[in-house]
């Protein structure tokens, strides 16, 4: 007996350590991490050298569900309400209509290709219908360029909100398959309302309660994150027991907690980041262990076909239709289509039919698994390339090197941030206290060539200095612009090329702009100022958006809390 325990601990330790070490190497190779975790699981499994025989679908389902709950809670906490301004509508449309379209297309095709009854095909369609953007963001984060905030907001919110829909559809189709004669469309609709309604209400109530409890309770400092974790499980379980969507509930609860002033939020976030990583790794390892790779080979061809149709037809169709009312630029639509990565959710959902005892459950599991592999590999690998080819990168603005949230007793909403002064920063030669910093924020340290300087040694700022500040979260964006003043030459050139040569005042009359650059404006805008002109054609602008006027372009340079702040004019070039 002890031997068994020791073996489990040994195997778990080894597998997690290898996976964690893989996070160091793989970003350089551009391979999606999730793919690596799953491969490590497969190598350790029955067909690999590890030779671990694991076929417990129930345990996998439990572990997968728990892991997803934690990941969604964490995802909710990290989603800022600010992103809702441009992202909420399109993301919700993708998460509902988009998921449904994906299911219908893939479901129909699967039933044809695999010669299954239509309902079983739809089950497969439902299982693979939701996306996982976590992988995408890890691929995009460590670059000197970034995507515009409309694209990132939509992807972020979509990936958090489409899982409940996929879970619901899967459960709905399973319910139908279990009693096809008595299951009616009304029941299906009722199930939808019950699922989302209970999930939504309990999620919001639970989040509100959790935030209050965290602020009221006097606990040992280390217990706050644990309290939040088990509240998340409690909420999930309770909601699901009452017939609601636990996934939706924990996501909403996370969203509420993450966007309110909550005590110990910083340590809760940090703890949950770690837990979410562990959940992510653990889930993929188990999923890799669970699959029997030799069985994948037999279904490789049809699964590849279905996977490619999902990527090349179903997802783009779903995106185009879902985003129709929002009129996204085609490049952004193409990118969002390509970033329809399938992650852990489909594989976890694929264990549901097993547990429910549905016919062909094994086949459906293997196909879903294969599709996830294809998607992770094909799309995960090429996401940065796709962004580049679609010209969606915008130069990163800001010199911030490190960000660390801290809890001040009785306060929240403060962070400690550090900036590194580049060689050509315009602050070099100034005294630190001459930096334009608002009252609530203050400089707490200056580090020069590896040494923390005492206050008296600060002198004037030099290139390469790290300036650490305690700042109010609301002041962060402004400080970023203060510190970005004059970046390195190559960056500055790229930035100028992108954001335009000159700044144009938002209050200037549009007709003066037209006069200066020989542009014809539509009659209706004759009395507009430049800001109104931009908003007329770009009603929900994000940084990097352009408005072409004759030979020139107006570019959105800076936004602050949803408000237009700075516009540049971009001249034509040779």
């Amino acid at each position: 007996m002890m031997d068994f325990v020791n073996q489990i601990l040994f195997a778990a330790g080894l597998l997690f350590l290898v996976s964690i070490l893989a996070t160091v190497i793989t970003p350089r190779l551009g391979v999606p991490l999730l793919f690596v975790f799953i491969i490590i699981g497969m190598i350790a499994g029955e067909d690999g050298p590890g030779n671990i025989h694991f076929a417990d679908f129930r345990l996998t389902n439990l572990a997968g569900t728990a892991a997803l709950a934690v990941i969604l809670f964490d995802g909710g906490m990290r989603t800022s309400f600010k992103t809702f301004r441009v992202g909420l509508g399109p993301a919700l449309s993708l998460a509902t209509v988009g998921v449904l379209i994906t299911m219908l297309v893939v479901g129909w095709l699967s039933s044809v290709v695999l010669d299954l009854p239509l309902a079983q095909g739809m089950l497969l369609g439902a299982i693979v219908s939701s996306t996982d953007a976590a992988a995408v963001f890890s691929l995009l984060s460590n670059r000197t360029v970034s995507l515009n905030s409309r694209v990132t907001s939509v992807l972020e919110i979509e990936s958090g909100t489409n899982d409940p829909m996929a879970v619901f559809l899967t459960l709905g189709v399973i319910a139908y398959l279990q009693s096809p004669d008595t299951f009616t469309a009304q029941q299906f609709l009722f199930l939808l309302v019950e699922h989302m309604g209970i999930g939504g209400v309990l999620g919001l109530a639970g989040g509100w309660l959790l935030a209050r409890a965290l602020n009221r309770l006097q606990l040992n400092e280390s217990l706050y994150p644990v309290f939040a974790l088990f509240s998340c499980f409690l909420l999930f379980g309770l909601t699901a027991l009452l017939g609601g969507s636990g996934f939706l509930a924990v996501y909403l609860a996370g969203l509420l907690v993450g966007n309110r002033k909550v005590r110990a939020l910083a340590s809760i976030r940090r703890f949950h980041d770690g837990i979410a990583w562990m959940a992510q790794i653990g889930m993929f390892l188990i999923l890799g262990l669970l699959v029997s790779p030799h069985k994948l080979l037999t279904i490789a061809l049809p699964a590849l076909l279905i996977g490619l149709v999902l990527i090349l037809a179903a997802r783009p169709l779903a995106v185009v239709i879902s985003l129709l009312p929002f009129r996204f630029p085609w490049r952004e639509q193409a990118f969002i289509s390509w970033v329809g990565l399938r992650g852990s959710v489909p594989i976890v959902l694929a264990t549901f039919p097993w547990i429910a005892g549905i016919e062909n459950a094994g086949l459906i599991f293997n196909i879903a698994f294969f599709i996830v592999l294809v998607s992770l590999l094909l799309q995960g690998w090429s996401v940065p390339l796709a962004a580049q080819m679609l010209k969606l990168y915008i130069p990163r603005t800001g010199a911030r090197v490190k960000r660390l949230e801290v809890d001040l007793p009785g306060q929240s909403g403060y962070e400690i941030v550090s900036y590194k002064l580049p060689v050509d920063s315009s602050h070099i030669g100034r005294r630190p206290k001459e930096l334009p910093i608002r009252d609530h924020s203050r400089i707490i340290a200056v580090t020069r060539s590896g040494h923390l300087l005492s206050y008296r040694e600060w002198g004037v700022l030099q290139a390469g200095d790290f300036v650490s500040l305690l700042v109010a979260e609301t002041d962060l964006e402004r400080l970023d612009t203060v510190f970005k003043a004059k970046r390195q030459r190559a960056d500055a050139a790229a930035s100028r090329q992108f954001f335009g040569e000159f700044e144009i005042s938002l209050e200037a009359a549009a007709k003066d702009l037209a006069e200066s650059y020989g542009v014809k404006l539509p009659e209706s805008t004759a009395e507009f100022n430049v800001g109104q002109l931009v908003l007329k054609f770009l009603p929900r602008p994000v940084v990097g958006d352009r408005l072409r006027l004759g030979h020139i372009e107006l570019v959105v340079r800076r936004m602050e809390g949803g408000e237009l702040r700075e516009i540049g004019v971009r001249l034509p070039r040779e």
């Binding site: 100028r496 040569e501 000159f502 700044e503 144009i504 200066s516 020989g518 030979h551 001249l571």
Partner: protein, 153 residues
């Protein structure tokens, strides 16, 4: 674009001392007038000033490129002034301006001429080049330096 088609040696001056942006633009208009004799210096000033009302033409790091579009001008006309002391020009980086390149473009054929403006902005974004301009001895060597500019030097 060749700069010598736009800029004449008589339109490069240095050493002036100014206390206001308005005065700089007045002198710049007069200077540009030498290369665009068909128009009135006051009209040039009006054109430059109305462009400045849209937002400062300061590029940052001490450079400004006032420009305007005018009827009666044949091709792009440039003029360059180096001020003795940096002057507040409401540039976005808050630094005073001491290198001022003025450009007039004709009313028609705008794209080609806007490209000239872009090329000049590009040229003055090169900080090494700007440093040389600040160190140049007299008007003649300033003119030579401007004409010899090649991107990436």
């Amino acid at each position: 674009m060749k700069l010598n088609e736009i800029l004449g040696a008589d339109r490069v001056v240095s050493g002036g001392t100014y206390t206001s942006k308005k005065k700089v633009l007045e002198d710049l208009a007069r200077l540009l007038n030498k290369g665009a004799s068909g128009v009135d210096a006051n009209d040039i000033l009006t054109s430059l000033s109305s462009r400045e009302k849209l937002g400062s033409t300061g590029l940052g790091h001490g450079v400004a490129i006032p420009h305007g579009r005018m009827g009666g001008v044949e091709g792009s006309v440039g003029a360059f002034m180096r001020l003795k002391h940096p002057l507040d020009y409401e540039a976005h980086d808050g630094l005073g301006v001491d290198l001022v390149f003025g450009l007039l473009v004709p009313q028609n054929a705008t794209e080609a001429h806007l490209k000239h403006l872009a090329a000049i902005a590009e040229m003055f974004s090169d900080e090494v080049f700007c440093k040389k301009l600040r160190e140049a001895g007299d008007d003649a060597s300033l003119f030579a330096l401007l004409n010899s500019f090649k991107p990436g030097n």
